[in-house]
Subunit: 354 residues, 2 copies
């Protein structure tokens, strides 16, 4: 069980340190090795996904990532920005299936900006395609052309999906729905985009093979509304890379505690990259303030999906539930009457709960 | 002051009837003529934007639209679906600037799924580009090709913006911000899409000409989150057609009373199409249940933007505020202790309040 550990930028190293401690306490034969990805890799090598990281990530069974990016690297040319490292590793490892749970922990219900009755018990799984769509589609670029009689800059990108890409992500989504509430909502914009008309057609064709799953379709604008209006109507949602980027972030924020939400990005053989849903939070980096629980829960997802260690995964998840019940809170989820702790102390509490 | 009236489908004719009554009571020299758009036009002529509507709409100073679409027409081929009528008239009349206010009326604060303190006093204006982007970009289509050694269907669309398109919508947005809270948030996905990198570059260039407006940039995934987390941070938001479709619907739904929200779609000379932000609600069509206020408020926007009749616009808006204060509510915004009325009775109440 080889794990490539990529702490990344901002709060990445701090939260990763706690996840590594938790994994180390599990009595599993885990080999962990570190490399640089993102802004720190740009600083050290000029490349956000340098060769050392590529080698280690390819050879590993799973990758555990902290977070990448920060204002320090915003002015760099496109190809050197930290997020290119993230896009690069996703594509390089063929991690086409991004699983993002949006779960509201009962102890943290107050953190939501939504009314308690709207979000209590929320448990949605968003399945986002991660290696296709307008993120990687060609042609793309900015160039100067003659438009309406004058020379002008024009910028363009290509949204594109081939049948096999749509089938394999829908398969993941149908199977996830079978293991959960058996409801799958596929999100598209078929009334405008041919690309997503194909998506809907294929979903309908595949539905026959999953008679136990109730498939529905929703337009992306309506989905953005329904997530706000009545999010508990959803069980599993599946959509393309671009719409999934938007909707999964919206869904996470419904909980108000994005510092709690893990994610998994899998290839066809359950090799995966696991990372918290939140960003690198450069403003609080290095201050022992960040919430390490999303990273710890990402490690639990890794144990489940890549290593098939369901028991160990549940041990970690239960330890997280226990520290919440005990009242431990980092600043992002703190409220009066609970015990405010730092990143390390939260790690200590999870270890104790294990 | 020539108005082309397009009642459309579903609840369209009922809500339009009330807006027409209100306009008729204003002592303005308004000429109104009706035509078919959407599903009703498909039924009558086979074309969702038939020639009669084209002629009337082109010759008019403004277009007032009810709503289009319904399940009845969902199985038709692409080119005959009601929404093609809507896309067709937008493009035909060059209505590139879509203005969508998301306003929370104090009397309706309970209707929101968000906590009162998060949305009280909400007043955002979303400016969405409406005639470009991936909605109209070429090439597009679905075809069978050889992909990875087999014949497969592939679907694709093109996201594209030329400089002049970006400049003219940003101008509308900067000017709108000048007349409001002087804050403009431009939404893009510049870290992934070249098309929106150009958008951000041009916004930065133009900012110099609007020193009184504070311009900020936000990535679309973050914008979808921030609208849920803390929507009152926004004054005016501007974005492209696709992201605007998603974010403006999300923003409307924050109020919980989308039956109250009007919209305007303008060309470069303030000719405009005005329509409620909600859909055609076929399930309640013909039952005197629909809320006509968004259509009435759309008529008020028309008086303001196209006809420069600020006083008349405010008269209508004040009448709507008055009926809310008096406790009149259609089913969509009804709560115990208020006076539940039908579509026609709501129109009566607005007329009385005028
Ligand atoms: C950093 C960025 C390229 C990335 C994306 O858009 O996929 C991020 O927003 C995410 O969702 O993981
Ligand atoms: C009906 C549809 C084509 C349309 C759009 O996507 O623009 C609608 O959702 C809207 O926002 O007016």
């Amino acid at each position: 069980m080889k794990i490539c550990v990529l702490p990344g930028d901002g709060i990445g190293p701090e939260i990763m340190a706690q996840a590594v401690r938790v994994l180390g306490a599990l009595d599993l034969k885990l080999e962990m090795e570190e490399a640089l990805l993102g802004g720190c890799a740009v600083d050290a090598t000029g490349n956000p996904y340098p060769e050392a990281a590529q080698k280690l990530a390819r050879a590993a069974d799973a990758v555990l990532l902290g977070a990448v990016g920060g204002p320090k690297w915003d002015a760099l040319p496109r190809e050197q920005r930290p997020e290119r490292g993230l896009l690069g590793i996703r594509k390089d490892l063929n991690l086409f299936a991004n699983l993002r749970p949006a779960i509201l922990y009962p102890e943290l219900a107050n953190a939501s900006s939504l009314k308690p009755e709207v979000v209590a018990g929320l448990d949605i799984l968003i399945v986002r395609e991660l290696t296709g769509d307008i993120y990687f589609g060609q042609p793309r670029g900015i160039e100067t052309r003659e438009v309406e009689g004058t020379l002008q800059r024009v910028g363009w990108n290509t949204m594109i999906y081939a049948e096999y890409e749509i089938r394999r992500i829908l398969k993941v989504a149908f199977e996830a729905a079978q293991k959960r509430g058996k409801k799958l909502c596929s999100v598209d914009k078929m009334n405008v985009l041919e690309c997503t008309q194909l998506w809907r057609d294929i979903a309908d064709e595949m539905a026959k093979d999953y008679p136990d799953v109730e498939l529905s379709h929703m337009l992306v604008d309506n989905a953005a509304m329904q997530l706000v209006r009545a999010p508990k109507q959803f069980d599993v949602m599946v959509t393309g890379n671009m719409f999934g980027d938007i909707l999964s972030d919206e869904a996470s924020m419904l909980t108000g505690s994005i510092g709690m939400l893990p994610s998994a990005s899998l290839d066809a053989d359950n090799k995966g990259l696991y990372e918290p849903s939140h960003g690198s939070a450069p403003d609080i980096a290095g201050k022992n303030l960040a919430n390490p629980l999303a990273t710890i829960l990402s490690a639990a997802m890794m144990l489940r999906y890549t290593f098939n260690q369901e028991e160990a995964a549940q041990r970690v998840e239960n330890a997280v539930k226990k520290v919440l019940a005990q009242g431990y809170r980092t600043g992002d989820i703190h409220e009066p009457g609970t015990n405010k702790v730092g990143t390390r102390e939260m790690g200590d509490a999870v270890l104790a709960a294990l």
